[in-house]
C-alpha cells in the first residue's frame, strides 16, 4: 500500500518563512512565542497581545498538535487586514477578547492565553460559544485552516490528482490489510 509520510514541508523553508523579529515583544506570553515562535504575522490593526490571544483561541478550537502556530495565524492575520478597513470588526474583536479575558481572570486568575492548561482554556471557551467572536473564528477556521494546501500532507490528503493521471496507477485499490481483520 502506498502509505504517505504525514509531513511534507521541509524544515528549512519552514524556518525561512518565519521572521520573528517584530514579535520578540516583551508582552508576548510564553504559551505562544516563547515555546513556538514559528509564525511571522506582524499585526498592525490588532494589538500583538490580542493577535496572540486569537491564535491561541484558534488552536484551542481546532487543536492539531502536528500543526505549527503559523497555520492558525494565517487565518487570524486576515482579521488584522480586515480590522484595518472595518472599525466595527476591530471593535468587536477588542470587546469580545476583553470579555473572555475577564472571565478567565475571574475563574483562573490569568488572562486566557496565559492559562497553561488546555482544559482550563477550553472551559472558558465553552462558556463563551455564544460570543460573535467565537462563532466567527470557528466558522472562518473550519474553512481556512483545512483549505490550506500546506496542511493537506500532514493529514495524509494528496489534493489535486488529475495532472498525475488520477490514482489509476497510484494506489486507488492498494489496501492490503483487510484479510487480517
Amino acid at each position: 500500500m502506498r502509505v504517505l509520510k504525514k509531513q511534507a514541508i521541509s524544515r528549512r523553508s519552514f524556518l525561512k518563512g518565519s521572521t520573528v523579529t517584530a514579535l520578540g515583544l516583551t508582552v508576548m506570553g510564553p504559551t505562544i512565542f516563547g515555546k513556538n515562535n514559528a509564525w511571522s504575522a506582524t499585526f498592525k490593526n490588532i494589538s500583538a497581545d490580542d493577535g496572540a490571544t486569537l491564535v491561541q483561541m484558534a488552536r484551542d478550537i481546532y487543536p492539531h498538535d502536528h500543526l505549527a502556530d503559523k497555520y492558525y495565524a494565517a487565518v487570524i492575520s486576515g482579521y488584522d487586514k480586515a480590522a484595518g478597513k472595518d472599525k466595527s470588526l476591530k471593535g468587536m474583536i477588542g470587546k469580545e477578547l476583553k470579555k473572555i479575558n475577564s472571565a478567565s481572570m475571574k475563574k483562573y486568575k490569568n488572562n486566557y492565553r496565559m492559562i497553561n492548561r488546555e482544559v482550563e482554556r477550553v472551559d472558558i471557551l465553552k462558556a463563551n460559544t455564544k460570543s460573535p467572536l467565537f462563532a466567527k473564528v470557528r466558522g472562518d477556521l473550519v474553512v481556512g485552516l483545512y483549505n490550506n494546501k500546506e496542511v493537506w500532507p500532514k493529514f495524509g490528503y494528496e489534493g489535486e490528482s488529475a495532472s498525475k493521471g488520477g490514482y489509476l496507477n497510484r494506489g486507488y485499490n492498494d489496501i492490503d490489510w483487510l484479510d487480517k481483520v
Binding site: 500500500m1 502509505v3 502536528h66 483545512y146 490528503y157 489534493g159 488520477g166 490514482y167 497510484r170 489496501i175
Partner: protein, 522 residues
C-alpha cells in the same frame, strides 16, 4: 450551432440545462424540433474543472441567496445553503457522482403499498414500472450506465474494499461497485475513468456522464438546439388564451430580454422551478402559474440522508478513486417490521479534507473533532439515501423581503423530518456502524445530512388535477403548453438516487411533446 430569433414563436423553450433540461433539449432537437435552452450559468469544458473542493464550489455551484426554515439540521448548520446544486450548463450533473439506479417496481405505487401514513401526502405515480422499463434502458444506454447493457462495472477502490468486507460480515447479499454512469471502458467517444477522485468537482477526464458535455452537444450537432448561457429566466408569460407564449430573462449584465415560445419546459431543479412558477403570477393565475391546485412548491423532498464515517487502525486513503464507489442494496426493500416504511441504500462516499472538515460534524470543535480529522487518511465512509415521506408543509415559497440581483424574490426552503424519516435514519446509522465495526473500526461517526443534493417533488405528477401540478407526461394540468421536465415532477422519491429517473422521464416526455406538436394539440 443554431441561433434563433427572440421573436420566433415556434421554438420550444427549456429553462435549465441539467439532467432534465439538457436531455430534453437533446431529444427534441434530435426529433427536429427547434429548441432554445436558457441556462442561468455559464459553460465549462471538462478541462476547466478544478480538483479543489472549495474552488470548484465557487466555480460551478448555485450561490444565490436562499433561506431555510423548519426543524431539519441543515437549517441550523447551513442556514443559507439548503441545497447543493449547480449553476452552469449541465446543471447538477456536473457535481453528481454518477449513481444511476432504477426505482423498484413498488416504488411507483407507494400509496397503495404503504397505505395511509399519518402526516404524509403520499400519492401513487400515474406511471408504472412496466411503462418505464424501455425508457430506463434508453437512458442507461445514453449515459453508459455500468452494470446494464453488458457494460462492466468499475473495479473497487480502497473505500469500496472496506465497505465490501463489512457487507460480507453483515451477511448482506446484494453489493457491488454500483451502476455508475462512468465509463469503465471507452464509450460514446469518452475515455475510461482515471480514478481521479474529484467526481463532485466535475470530471476532468469526461469519463462521467453529464448532460453538459454529453447530451447537449449531441443536440447542438443537429442544428436545432441553441443554448443561451447566463440567461436567468425571471418570469413565464401567457396570452389571453391562458397558454404560455414566452419568457422574460436577464443576461449577465442584468439586461432584460424576452424570448417568444410555442411551448415552455421548466427544468431549473426543485427549488428554482417552483420559484419561477410562483413568481409568474398574473391576473389570470393569481396563485402563480400552473398552481390552481395550490400544490406548486409543496411536497418538497430531499431523500432521507445521512453519512457514516469510520476510522481504522490502518490507513485507507478513501479519497483515492471514484467518489462514490459501491452500493449495498439489501436495505432498500419495504419491510415495515423494521419500524418504518420504504427503504434505503448504502453507498460509499469520500470527501476531501476541506469538505470533511465542514461536513463531518457541523459546528463541532475541540479535541473530539480534531482527533477524528487527524485520522483522515484512516477513514472509510458511506452515504445513506432513502425514501422520505412527502409532506404538504415541506415547501418552497417566495421570500417576502429578500430579492436577488435581478429583483426576483429569493426562495425559502422549509423542511421538517417526518417520523418515518427519523426512524429510517437511525436504523441506517445502526446498520452502517455495525458494518464498519465488523471490520475493526475503532471509532464511527454518524454524520447528519448535508445540504440537499437530491431536490424533488415541488411540482408533482398526479393522477388527478387537484393532487398535483402536472399529469403523467409532466404537462401542466392548467396550461397545456407548459411542462415540468426536472426532478420537481416526482410524485414520491423512492430510495434511489434520482437522476436516471429524471433522464428517463425527460426522454419519455420528449416523445409526448413531439406527438402533441405534430398533431397541433399544442
Amino acid at each position: 450551432m443554431a441561433k434563433f430569433s427572440k421573436s420566433d414563436n415556434s421554438v420550444a423553450v427549456i429553462i435549465g440545462s441539467g439532467a432534465g433540461g439538457g436531455v430534453l433539449g437533446m431529444e427534441l432537437a434530435l426529433k427536429g424540433i427547434k429548441t432554445v435552452i436558457l441556462e442561468a450559468g455559464g459553460r465549462h469544458n471538462p478541462q476547466d474543472f478544478v480538483n479543489d473542493e472549495w474552488a470548484s464550489f465557487g466555480q460551478i455551484s448555485w450561490l444565490d441567496k436562499r433561506t431555510t426554515s423548519g426543524d431539519w439540521r441543515v437549517a441550523r448548520d447551513f442556514s443559507g445553503l439548503p441545497s447543493w446544486i449547480v449553476k452552469a450548463v449541465g446543471g447538477s450533473t456536473l457535481h453528481w457522482a454518477g449513481a444511476s439506479l432504477r426505482f423498484q417496481p413498488h416504488e411507483w405505487k407507494v400509496k397503495t403499498e404503504y397505505g395511509n401514513i399519518k402526516g404524509a401526502s403520499l400519492e401513487d405515480w400515474p406511471i408504472d414500472h412496466k411503462e418505464m422499463d424501455k425508457w430506463y434502458t434508453k437512458a442507461e444506454n445514453h449515459m453508459g450506465t455500468l452494470g446494464t447493457g453488458g457494460r462492466e462495472r468499475l473495479p473497487g477502490n480502497n473505500n469500496y474494499k472496506v465497505f465490501e468486507a463489512g457487507a460480507k460480515r453483515m451477511g448482506y447479499k446484494d453489493f457491488h461497485t454500483g451502476n455508475m454512469s462512468i465509463n469503465s471502458k471507452p464509450y460514446d467517444g469518452r475515455i475510461a475513468c482515471q480514478q481521479i477522485g474529484f467526481c463532485f468537482q466535475g470530471c476532468k477526464s469526461g469519463a462521467k456522464w453529464s448532460s453538459g458535455y454529453v447530451s447537449i452537444p449531441k443536440g447542438e450537432a443537429t442544428g436545432k438546439l441553441e443554448v443561451r448561457t447566463h440567461a436567468q429566466v425571471l418570469k413565464i408569460e401567457h396570452g389571453k388564451d391562458g397558454k404560455v407564449n414566452g419568457v422574460v430573462y436577464a443576461d449577465k449584465k442584468g439586461t432584460i430580454h424576452k424570448q417568444r415560445a410555442r411551448i415552455v419546459c421548466v427544468a431549473g431543479n426543485s427549488i428554482e422551478s417552483p420559484r419561477l412558477l410562483l413568481n409568474s403570477e398574473s391576473n389570470m393565475f393569481k396563485n402563480g402559474l400552473a398552481n390552481s391546485s395550490g400544490q406548486v412548491g409543496r411536497n418538497y423532498m430531499r431523500h432521507m440522508t445521512a453519512s457514516t464515517y469510520a476510522i481504522f487502525e490502518r490507513p485507507v486513503y478513501f479519497y483515492r478513486g471514484t467518489t462514490m464507489a459501491g452500493i449495498v442494496t439489501d436495505e432498500s426493500r419495504n419491510d415495515p417490521s423494521r419500524g418504518f416504511v420504504g427503504g434505503y441504500e448504502l453507498e460509499t462516499l469520500a470527501l476531501g479534507l476541506p469538505f470533511m472538515a465542514a461536513f463531518l460534524d457541523p459546528g463541532q470543535w475541540g479535541r473530539e473533532f480534531t482527533a477524528s480529522m487527524d485520522q483522515y487518511d484512516h477513514m472509510a465512509g458511506l452515504w445513506i439515501v432513502g425514501e422520505d415521506m412527502p409532506q404538504a408543509s415541506n415547501r418552497v415559497t417566495l421570500h417576502k423581503k429578500f430579492k436577488d440581483k435581478f429583483g426576483m424574490p429569493t426562495p425559502n426552503v422549509h423542511f421538517s423530518d417526518h417520523e418515518n424519516d427519523i426512524k429510517m435514519r437511525n436504523h441506517a446509522w445502526k446498520q452502517s456502524t455495525a458494518l464498519y465495526e465488523s471490520v475493526g473500526a475503532t471509532k464511527v461517526i454518524q454524520t447528519p445530512p448535508y445540504p440537499s443534493t437530491h431536490n424533488l417533488g415541488t411540482n408533482r405528477m398526479s393522477a388527478k388535477a387537484r393532487d398535483g401540478v402536472v399529469n403523467k407526461h409532466g404537462q401542466s394540468w392548467d396550461v397545456k403548453n407548459l411542462f415540468i421536465s426536472d426532478g420537481s415532477q416526482f410524485t414520491t422519491g423512492a430510495a434511489e438516487n434520482p437522476t436516471l429517473t429524471i433522464v428517463a422521464l425527460a426522454m419519455r416526455q420528449a416523445e409526448y411533446i413531439a406527438k402533441q406538436m405534430s398533431s397541433k394539440a399544442i
